[in-house]
């Protein structure tokens, strides 16, 4: 029973990673850049929800919608101001800019909300689910997280495969130059990608802080790094890969902490990543690339 409960917690944590990883993987697939500030957008989203519910007296769903709106605008603004001027620059320059943006968001949050951790109130007020005569307790946020993950996965897959914008995204991802020649507005496509990723970040912020209710300016960085790891794990650029990688990573982390060592939980996660990349150098669902001679 403890194993089952650990497994459920692992899937739940993994679902959060998966939702964050989607943001990384979409941006990587389309803009070919590592958006290191993504984790901090999650933190901003969580703070907005916190303020909405705590200070401004908004009902929880409205606060979440507000956070999604703010994050979407934030993501698009970051892209426009910092990344768009660097389209022709080296990958390293973009990476450093993204890191600068991450510092910027963290320190702005520090100035506005202070360094003291805030206790994030869970917006899900229903009682926990008791199964097997109370031996397996599933908290509502756990269930909602897993559910949200499934819904987002399906919606995003449909969006990418069915809509015109989704098709444009796939084109830009495959060959930006050719897409531009075919009349696809590359800038707009990238902008929309950032918007979607950032809106998902707000949801991830909500779910993350519901399960782990300590909120501070650095809240987003470690989950961000791990979600990025998850995206690479699953094969960066691939949406099902991000899902698979995220969930697996969450399960490995929780089970590793429970059965091997609490202190070494993170080390186990990263060790598994290394092993996977050595066996499959482009991740679980990534496509191998061949250089033309």
């Amino acid at each position: 029973m403890i194993f089952l409960s650990n497994l459920v917690n692992g899937i739940s944590l993994g679902s959060i990673y998966a939702i964050i990883a989607l943001g990384y993987t979409m941006v990587y697939g389309i803009a070919k850049m590592l958006n290191f500030a993504h984790g901090d957008v999650i933190m901003v989203g969580a703070y907005i929800i916190f303020c909405g519910a705590q200070y401004w007296g908004l009902p929880a769903p409205v606060a979440v919608l507000l956070a999604m709106l703010v994050c979407t605008v934030l993501g698009m603004t970051i892209e426009k101001l910092a990344y768009k001027p660097l389209r022709q620059a080296t990958g390293l320059a973009v990476l450093i800019t993204a890191i600068g943006m991450s510092y910027l968001l963290q320190n702005t949050a520090l100035l506005i909300w202070g360094a003291n951790p805030k206790v994030f109130p869970s917006p899900f007020s229903t009682d926990a689910l008791h199964l097997f005569g109370g031996e397996l307790v599933i908290k509502p946020e756990t269930l909602i997280t897993i559910l949200a993950n499934v819904v987002i996965m399906i919606a995003l897959s449909l969006f990418i495969s069915r809509t015109k914008m989704g098709k444009a995204m796939r084109c830009v991802s495959e060959d930006r130059g050719a897409a531009e020649l075919m009349g696809i507005n590359v800038n707009r496509t990238i902008s929309v990608t950032f918007a979607i990723g950032s809106a998902l970040a707000a949801i991830a912020g909500l779910l993350l802080c519901s399960s782990y209710p300590m909120l501070q300016p650095t809240t987003g960085s470690m989950p961000g790094i791990k979600a990025f790891t998850a995206a690479v794990f699953g094969g960066i650029g691939s949406i099902p890969g991000a899902m698979l990688g995220g969930v697996l990573l969450g399960i490995i982390e929780i089970l590793g902490k429970a059965y091997i060592s609490t202190e070494l939980g993170d080390a186990i996660v990263f060790a598994v990543l290394i092993v996977v990349l050595l066996v499959r150098p482009t991740g679980l669902l990534g496509k191998p690339v061949r250089e033309k001679v």
């Binding site: 001027p85 910027l104 320190n107 790891t229 202190e263 060790a271």
Partner: protein, 350 residues
Amino acid sequence: MKTKKARLITQTVTYAVLILLFVILTVMINNKSISRTLKGQLIPICSWIVMAVSLNLVVGISGELSLGHAGFMSIGAFSGIIVSGWLLNGFGMEDPALRLFLSILCGGVIAGIFGVLIGIPVLRLRGDYLAIVTLAFGEIIKNVMNCVYVSVEGRSLNWGFLDGNLPGTLLLNGPMGAVKVKTIATFGAGFILVIFSLIVVLNLVNSRSGRAIMAARDNRIAAEAMGINITKYKMMAFVTAAVLAGMAGALYGLSMATLLPTKFSFNESINVLVFVVLGGIGNIPGSIVSATALTILPEKLRFLQNYRMLAYAILLILVMVLGNNPLLKTLWRRLIPGRNREQTGEEMRA
């Protein structure tokens, strides 16, 4: 293109300026005309310079993005602390200079061994995948160092993993890190280490092996067709950088009374990368300048209080965005003749 002569001049100037600075600073220290904060920063500055120069060997010269360089610094720092404590407690070696020398040497060697062990899997990967695996190794090192306990009793070292119940004097105390370290590092030693790392990197770059490393970076397929063993030369750059980072770590560790394992986190790796990028990819003197400036700057910005890191972040973004602005780039080239070369690789030689 930088001719041999120009390269020689730049190198000579670099060494000369460093020696001059060292002399001036030593005189100032003796006169007590140097501020306390700056004096306290001198040894860390030396460490960060060595870190930046060595990372530049990997990122700039070898062309592989490493996001875990602080991991080697961590290994070097804690190995150095252990060796120093062992020599003092177990062998009664009082001479701090000799102890420092041996500790730095051991820090470098042990970090180098880890460099080989990590390099073997890492260098099989390419591009972003390589970068993420170096990040992963950096995090693993940080995490594992958090669980290591070492004590010295007589001449024997006792090791504990996740278990701090060891007899004798504790040198490494798990998550509490190294405590009550005898700070034997000196500015003079730091200066020598900086010069040593410069000699190693600059001479390596301007030799047969260095050319092979750069050939592997510029065009993998052509380099292989010319009979260059890519893995061997990538490994050479990676391990050399690990050794130097280990030495920098030992110097750093032995200049601090206490040192936490969490000090050498992903953020420190990124900081060193920022030194390298702002100083110019592949530009070794640039790395020295930016490592120095960016170590002093946050202290100088202390008056900004909480806005300090914000200012740093904005500065970083502005430098990157404006530095890559095509208009400004053209202007820059017009203003400084002889600089109209391609961005990458132009500064590959100091």
